[in-house]
């Protein structure tokens, strides 16, 4: 990464854009806001994993070409178990994603944790 890109990315972590619900690198996230063209209108609720810190860039809707210029993170689609679904290289505005926090023992009953542990 060149110095300019590195400085821009570092800037993001210091900015007011970093909220508790902002997904960090490696986090699971759910698409909370969608673009309104036909096929993309079904994207809300999709599970993704954030692959890298955001960079200020322009990305385009793969269906209609609409441009969005914002803080963009690369994301991969994942299934319910967190396994990546091989598809594209997608960039999504970080503000359109909602962090999904991992389940901890504080959040779940002992029974639920035991079930999860058994499931591996």
């Amino acid at each position: 990464m060149d110095a300019v890109s590195a400085a821009l990315r570092a800037q993001f972590w210091k900015s007011h854009l970093l909220l508790p619900e902002t997904p960090r690198t490696g986090d699971k996230a759910v698409v909370a806001k969608q673009h309104s063209c036909g096929p993309a209108a079904q994207e809300t609720g999709l599970l993704v994993r954030v692959r890298n810190p955001p960079v200020f860039a322009a990305v385009h809707c793969e269906h209609c070409g609409q441009e969005v210029e914002d803080w963009i993170s690369e994301v991969e689609l994942i299934d319910d178990l967190g396994r990546p679904i091989p598809n594209g290289v997608y960039g999504y505005p970080i503000k359109w994603l909602q962090r999904v926090l991992p389940l901890t023992h504080q959040d779940a009953s002992h029974k639920q944790v035991a079930v999860l542990a058994t499931a591996g």
Binding site: A3, H35, F56, E67, V68, V89, G91
Partner: protein, 159 residues
């Protein structure tokens, strides 16, 4: 979903006999670009021979045949905007006639011409070319044949 604008720089079926840059890419002024994949294969020889090629940063651009959008520089998705890469005879283009000045080699690899070589980067190790930076795919050993090469990149730029 949204995609970063991605493009393929192609140099298909050109006879090259010297150790020289097969393709050269110069980033535009609006942002950096990331190299996703590059390949080098040939069709003119059935003789097993080992050669080497490198991805090399340039501190001064080679003299090349300028890339042409839609012919040698293709959009991954037709709906994407025109590339921000700088096209020209000392910028983005194919088949160098004179080398510029080589900088660091980000990757150098030997391969058998019967197999060719293809490099796909993991997200963590993608080579980033800064604004205005130049990178080239270069043959390190002379081998006279018809070469086919591709350089796939993604633009991380503002509009």
């Amino acid at each position: 979903m949204f995609t970063f604008p991605s493009y393929i720089l192609k140099n298909n079926g050109v006879s090259i006999s010297s150790a020289i840059s097969v393709q050269q890419l110069k980033a535009g002024v609006n942002g950096a670009l990331a190299i996703l994949r590059h390949s080098l294969t040939q069709s003119g020889s059935v003789t097993s021979t080992q050669v080497a090629a490198a991805l090399t940063r340039k501190t001064a651009g080679a003299t090349v045949t300028a890339a042409v959008a839609g012919t040698t520089l293709l959009k991954q998705n037709q709906i994407q905007p025109t590339t921000d890469a700088s096209l020209g005879t000392s910028a983005t283009g194919i088949t160098a006639s004179a080398e510029g000045t080589d900088g660091e080699q980000t990757l150098a690899r030997g391969f058998n011409v019967l197999n060719g070589q293809e490099t796909v980067y993991t997200p963590e190790e993608r080579v980033i070319v800064p604004q205005g930076g130049i990178i080239a795919q270069k043959l390190l050993a002379a081998f006279n044949t018809t070469w086919y090469s591709e350089l796939v990149f993604m633009e991380l730029r503002a509009s």
